[in-house]
């Protein structure tokens, strides 16, 4: 396809596209332009200018609520086989109880997208890797299923697929014999859409999870991290995690 016809197709799509986009143009073209310019074009590689991160406010995370977990399972079609010990689990709720006071807190635990990920250090094949923008993934084309990374991860964030699978989501390929973990919904993030768990939490008005670019001082997550104290789980390991917690 020639460049010109590509552009024509794009123009048509854009002009006839979303009503919100058109309304936005009429009101404030300048604003839209900066927004458009910020979004990553599909043919451009991700860069280290961005570091995706997540801030979880445990004060807003309700005991008994499992919405983020359900949303993740649905998004990636993580069906269970009735074997909780080995079923895939990308995000799970953890309950903390202060034995002295009886105070109970719950929080979602997931891959922390470490800046210095032990899973990548130990992987013998190079299948575990960190993207330029900080998202830690498994390239399942290369993974041999040795599970070293599962042993190395301090957060117990990874799962091994034990069963033959069918009807995987097109954007989330998964298969028997490989290891997997939270991808920060990389298929969404690359299109400027929030991860499924974040949306689920928002939709139920809990708003316990903030997601964004930790390298951008103006992003909501950077602002919140600046204003409030937060912690990394097992900060002593100095992995500089991409997931931070408030209220623990």
């Amino acid at each position: 396809m020639s460049e010109e016809s590509n552009i024509d197709i794009y123009r048509r799509r854009f002009m006839s596209g979303t009503a919100t986009a058109a309304a936005g143009l009429a009101v404030a073209p300048g604003v839209m332009l900066t927004e458009v310019a910020r979004a990553k074009p599909a043919d451009q590689a991700v860069s280290s200018d961005i570091r995706w991160g997540m801030l979880i406010d445990t004060n807003k995370c309700n005991e008994g609520c499992n919405d983020c977990v359900t949303a993740c399972n649905e998004e990636h079609n993580l069906e269970g086989f009735g074997r909780p010990a080995t079923d895939a689990q990308w995000i799970r709720k953890v309950t903390l109880k202060d034995k002295q006071t009886g105070n109970i807190q719950t929080l979602p635990m997931l891959c922390q997208h470490c800046e210095h990920p032990p899973c990548v250090d130990v992987c013998p094949t190079g299948a575990s890797f960190k993207r330029e923008d900080g998202i830690v993934l498994v390239d399942k084309h290369i993974c041999i299923g040795c599970r070293y990374c599962m042993m190395a991860c301090p957060y117990k964030a990874r799962s091994f697929v034990h069963e033959k699978l069918q009807d995987q989501m097109p954007y989330s390929p998964r298969g028997k014999g490989t290891v997997e973990s939270c991808t920060f919904c990389v298929h969404r993030v690359d299109e400027d859409i929030l991860p499924a768990c974040v949306v689920a939490c928002k939709e139920e008005n809990h708003n316990a999870i903030t997601f964004g670019d930790m390298n951008d001082p103006d992003s909501e997550i950077s602002q919140q991290l600046k204003q409030h104290s937060s912690r990394q789980v097992r900060a002593d390991l100095e992995l500089n995690t991409g997931v931070r917690y408030r209220g623990i």
Binding site: P29, M32, D43, D133, Q166, Y171, P173, E191, I193
Partner: protein, 171 residues
């Protein structure tokens, strides 16, 4: 093949089973010895059926998919021309009872069975188009990163450049 057709024609004539139908088949040189390959749902462009000329795709589709795979997994490049997902969207029917990859009538299997080359793509990838909740999300501002409603970004840099230069003035 031509030789075979001629012999068939001669035999049909000899046996007196000659019909206009077989004559037409022979005249168009239709080759029925290869695999039956299901038709794609769409054309890529007016001039071209697939994303590259058909002969090129038959010989080298795996190279295109392999390059795209590394670019997508490691660099987050999500152009659609050579993506396996788009191959499936166009070449495989989304009907409930459409053949799956373990069936010879599935687009990929039709040729791969014929050529006796096994494929392992579909141990992990969906072997048919799967509709998902995610497909309908991109226009809702609640789902967007950042507060403003940003239009979908399945555009490449060339398209964005044109957009900012011509349609909105260059700032």
């Amino acid at each position: 093949m031509i030789k075979y057709s001629l012999i068939t024609l001669l035999f049909s004539l000899l046996l007196g089973v000659y019909t206009p139908g077989t004559a037409a088949d022979v005249a168009s040189g239709e080759d029925t010895s290869g695999p039956f390959i299901p038709k794609a749902q769409r054309r890529f462009s007016e001039e071209q059926g697939c994303v590259e000329p058909t002969g090129e795709m038959r010989a080298n589709h795996m190279e295109y998919i392999l390059d795209q795979r590394d670019a997508t997994v490691h660099e987050g490049i999500r152009t659609r021309q050579y993506s396996l997902q788009e191959c499936i969207n166009c070449h495989v029917s989304d009907a409930e009872d459409a053949p799956r990859v373990d069936n010879e009538e599935h687009f990929c299997s039709s040729c791969h069975t014929y050529a006796a080359v096994s494929i392992d793509c579909f141990q992990c990838h969906a072997d048919r188009p799967v509709k998902s909740r995610f497909d309908s999300l991109s226009n809702s501002s609640m789902h967007r990163i950042g507060s403003a409603a940003v239009p979908p970004t399945t555009l490449d840099s060339e398209q964005l450049k044109v957009l900012s230069n011509e349609d909105f003035g260059n700032e």
